[in-house]
């Protein structure tokens, strides 16, 4: 049996993940720079990853950690495409302010 299971209740991981996820939500809602918004999304994905890994270890089930692996795959693809779109937006508007992008026309 792992030392961490004996000494750290699994609730602590739930609380830590909730706090990190909420900080990510707060950043997405309040920041206007698109790069920082993308970083906050990465933070939220990581909070979920941490919780999946914690439950995977506590239940000795490897499927949770495989799921974390796939989330990392999707996060990497998302970051690449998102930053590509961001560079394109910057070329057209000379800014990364997301509040300039509230209309689909023009």
């Amino acid at each position: 049996m792992l030392e961490v299971i004996r000494s750290v209740p699994v609730e602590y991981y739930v609380y830590l993940s909730s706090v990190l996820f909420s900080i990510g939500v707060f950043g997405v809602l309040t920041r206007r720079n698109a790069i920082v918004v993308l970083m906050c999304i990465e933070l939220m994905l990581n909070a979920v990853n941490l919780l999946l890994a914690a439950f995977s270890t506590y239940l000795s089930d490897a499927q949770g950690q495989i799921m974390v692996f796939f989330i990392m795959v999707v996060a990497a693809a998302e970051a690449a495409v998102g930053l590509g779109i961001l560079v394109m937006i910057y070329r057209n508007t000379k800014s990364t302010d997301i509040s300039l992008l509230d209309k689909l026309r023009n």
Partner: protein, 166 residues
């Protein structure tokens, strides 16, 4: 001892995450987020998920955040060009995120009971076990992830092209 390590890592990760959100300069945000990712990698080591810890550092600190830094330096963003939302928006965001936190913690508090944790297998997060599961039960999602990467690569190159002739 393990609890102390857990709490230290948790406090550092929360503080650096907050600094990431509140930092004025986007470059500082990226650096604080890298620190947060390192503390999360420390949590994976604590959970004996060693494969995840290494992959996490390689993918996040090594690839994704370097990509973010490159884009930041390419676009030459700094504190002066940083757009700011009004205080009302910040208050609304804080209330929304705080409500979410209270709801999640309140829903989870005292409701989790894990049976059989005493007979847990500490080998579950090692490369041997994860490799077996990944290439037997999850081999189809694994191949689909390859296709996803190919699509993302083509899409990123196509989106990033300067003058697109269709």
């Amino acid at each position: 001892m393990t609890l102390a390590i857990f709490l230290t890592l948790a406090v550092i990760s929360v503080i650096t995450a907050l600094l990431m959100v509140f930092a004025k300069s986007p470059v500082h945000s990226v650096l604080y987020l890298i620190l947060t990712f390192f503390t999360i990698a420390g949590q994976y080591v604590l959970l004996n998920a060693q494969f995840l810890a290494v992959v996490h550092i390689i993918v996040y600190a090594g690839a994704i955040m370097v990509l973010f830094l490159f884009v930041l330096m390419l676009l030459n963003l700094n504190k002066d060009t940083e757009p700011q939302k009004s205080a009302g928006w910040k208050l609304a965001g804080a209330i929304a995120a705080g409500s979410l936190l209270v709801t999640m913690v309140g829903a989870m508090h005292g409701s989790i009971q894990i049976a059989g944790a005493e007979q847990s297998n500490p080998q579950v997060g090692l490369v041997e076990n994860l490799g077996k599961v990944l290439f037997t039960d999850f081999v189809v999602p694994f191949e689909i992830a390859g296709i996803l990467f190919l699509a993302a690569m083509v899409g990123a190159v196509l989106v990033g092209k300067k003058d697109l002739k269709v």
